[in-house]
């Protein structure tokens, strides 16, 4: 009897410990977002006192959002910061989604080819070609950055959407190939052989038979690419200046210039992160699937 209750106690202690650690880490993960969200509603006085809880410690105001032109009383009026913000938002969305789409198309084709046919380009066989693609992953952006900067200047691609899309496609292409290779390897070849025996060409069988099966895999590859491109700062800071400037660059330039307006910066940082937080909440399954694909297969 006594031993049974001690086991119960042990279990209880263990449960508390597990949930304690998990909740503690949840707090660490979410507190910065909470802090930023509340700061965007603070006035100067409540920022410098480091107050934490709205309505209890301080009275929330629309201060940060008003400067951005997104508060209830300014949303229907003309606002330059808002125009600027949405222009950057549009740039980021356009560049990252086009780059991800392009990478997914190029990467899926390449991964499919490598999983189905034996190639021989010069001395390169399939494993060499795979390695050639995946080795791009360890290439740090800084190595390409300066030559590309000079090259883009000559090609008149500096500060253009096309130039940004091309370089972003490159940075995420190896990740797509990595994920999609496993996806295609998991599709039984007999399905396509049946289609080919019926007289379809390889491309028709790819689109009719294989594509629908790997669609979830493609979705997770696309979302992962989108996240990486959306947040990319380093290359954008070098290549863009006005026309194709993305949101991270805009936010970063404000960090150095107006560090005093805490509420303003909080609002704009939150606006930068908000779309991806929504993506994380609703599409978590796909994100996890994409990352896990790399881990299991190795």
């Amino acid at each position: 009897m006594a031993s049974e209750s001690s086991i119960m106690n042990n279990n209880l202690v263990e449960k508390i410990l597990i949930y304690g650690i998990l909740l503690f880490w949840t707090f660490i993960c979410l507190f910065p977002i909470y802090w930023t969200a509340t700061t965007s509603f603070k006035t100067a006085a409540s920022v410098t006192q480091g107050l934490l809880i709205p309505w209890v410690d301080f009275e929330p105001a629309w201060k940060g959002w008003k400067n951005l032109g997104l508060s209830p009383d300014t949303i229907f009026t003309e606002s330059n910061p808002r125009e600027e913000f949405f222009a950057r938002f549009f740039n980021t969305a356009l560049i990252s989604s086009s780059a991800s789409a392009l990478a997914v198309i190029l990467g899926s084709f390449a991964a499919y080819g490598l999983s189905r046919f034996n190639y021989k380009f010069g001395f390169m066989r399939n494993p060499d070609i795979s390695f050639f693609f995946l080795s791009q992953l360890i290439l740090p952006p800084v190595v390409l950055a300066l030559p590309l900067l000079v090259l883009y200047r000559e090609l008149d691609l500096l500060d253009t959407h096309i130039g940004m899309i091309m370089i972003y496609t490159l940075t995420v292409l190896p990740i797509v190939i990595w994920i999609m290779r496993d996806q295609f390897n998991a599709v039984p070849i007999e399905l396509e052989e049946a289609a080919l025996v019926d007289g379809a060409s390889v491309w028709v069988s790819f689109f009719r038979v294989v594509f629908p099966i790997v669609l979830p895999g493609i979705a997770s590859a696309f979302i992962l690419c989108l996240i990486l491109c959306w947040n990319e700062y380093f290359l954008a800071a070098l290549i863009t200046s006005t026309d194709a400037k993305t949101m991270p660059v805009m936010v970063a330039s404000q960090i150095s210039s107006q560090s005093i307006k805490w509420w303003n910066m909080a609002a704009i940082s939150l606006a930068l992160c908000f779309p991806l937080i929504v993506v994380a909440i609703f599409l978590e399954r796909y994100i996890v699937k994409g990352m896990a694909a790399g881990a299991i297969k190795g």
Binding site: C29, M166, V202, A280, A295, G298
Partner: protein, 372 residues
């Protein structure tokens, strides 16, 4: 020798009649050569125009890019014309290869060429070849070596991140309520832009007068919580911020590995009366070894690119204590806009990375083989 030989039987094997007539083969070869010649002509004209040998040409090099694209398309199309069904298979891999060649191989060759020159983008003189001067300058540049040394510290920090991530993945894998909530919450730091993290955490929460972390540190008894003035503490702070962003990635990969563990083995061990620690040490950890090593390698790859938060939060300070190689090169470029020297530094970094990764992967493979 016009045919690409099928080396072995393809995994997806199709019997296709190759009824290609010589006329289409000739057309195929013709369009490749025609577009190639067009590219050469445009390149030559533009080259002569740039060096002021002739007085007509384009305002920039972009036509050469169009010619390259045309050439690539022509090669792709000619494969189908010449090899028929077999050519269509090449089209799967071909676009990606041409894309990477244009945007990686070409810039790298170009970068090698400019790394041996004294080229200041803002000066009018343009590029001057200076041989190995940049290399000697690098050998005598204490800040570059300092940033390499910092990278070693940053990479060693990955081990600590790994321990934390493994613990959290183990906890997430137990029977708990609200696992989906925890998973999403743990994932969120990875979603945040490094720029936003730099502001939210680096500039705002670590603010020494009223930032919540500083207040907390004061409450713990640290009188003057400054996170960026002492070199060691500044580096530690940057490590923590980077860890905060990337631990989710490791958790997800490790969790995927844990969920794929063979259930029967774990059950059998439990029946044999193994306690939690021996089970972890003798069963879970050995089986997880491949996944763990993959996770570590991927995390190190991302760590080698570390730059954004450093550029924004500390700009390498104090005195270069937090510099990563990338942030140092960027500063070198921004302050002196010397493309030549910066490019050389980045190429040396690339060579070091390749050596390091080769050794690391060989080491990992050997370890896996011994374990198996």
């Amino acid at each position: 020798m016009n045919e690409i030989k099928i080396v072995e039987r393809d995994p997806l094997y199709v019997v296709s009649q190759s009824s290609v007539n010589p006329k289409t083969i000739r057309t195929g070869k013709l369009i490749v050569w025609a577009s190639f010649m067009l590219m050469i002509i445009i390149g030559t004209v533009q080259g002569l125009y740039t060096f002021e040998k002739i007085n007509f040409g384009f305002s920039n090099w972009r036509p050469l890019l169009y010619a390259y694209i045309l050439w690539a398309v022509a090669i792709g199309y000619s494969r189908v014309l010449i090899y028929g069904e077999r050519g269509k298979r090449n089209l799967f891999v071909f676009p990606a290869v041409m894309f990477i060649i244009s945007i990686v191989i070409f810039p790298i060759l170009f970068g090698l060429y400019i790394s041996f020159s004294d080229w200041n983008l803002s000066s009018i003189d343009g590029r001057k070849f200076n041989g190995l001067d940049n290399f000697y300058q690098m050998l005598a540049d204490p800040y570059y070596w300092n940033s390499l040394k910092n990278m070693i510290y940053y990479i060693l920090a990955v081990l600590v991140e790994f321990v934390i991530a493994f613990l959290l993945a183990l906890l997430l894998n137990t029977q708990i309520r609200g696992r989906k909530f925890f998973r999403i919450a743990f994932l969120i730091p990875l979603m945040l832009s490094p720029v936003a993290v730099s502001w939210m955490v680096g500039k705002s929460m670590l603010e020494q007068r009223f930032g919540p972390v500083a207040n907390f540190a004061r409450w713990l008894g640290w009188d003057t919580p400054t996170f960026f003035s002492n070199p060691e503490i500044a580096r530690l702070t940057m490590m923590c911020m980077d860890a905060w962003t990337f631990i989710p990635l490791m958790i997800i990969m490790l969790l995927a590995g844990l969920q794929a563990l063979p259930k029967e083995v774990l059950e059998a061990a439990k029946v044999d009366g193994a306690n939690k620690w021996t089970m972890f040490k003798n069963i879970i950890f050995p089986i997880m070894l491949p996944v763990s090593l993959t996770t570590l390698v991927i995390r190190i790859i991302f760590k080698l690119k570390l730059a954004d938060i450093i550029i924004i939060v500390t700009a390498g300070g104090p005195g270069g204590a937090t510099d990563s190689v990338t942030s140092f090169i960027v500063r070198e470029y921004r302050d002196r806009s010397n493309v030549g020297y910066g490019t050389l530094l980045s190429f040396v970094y690339l060579v070091l990375i390749i050596i390091f990764m080769t050794i690391l992967i060989r080491f990992v493979n050997r370890w896996l083989q011994r374990a198996a």
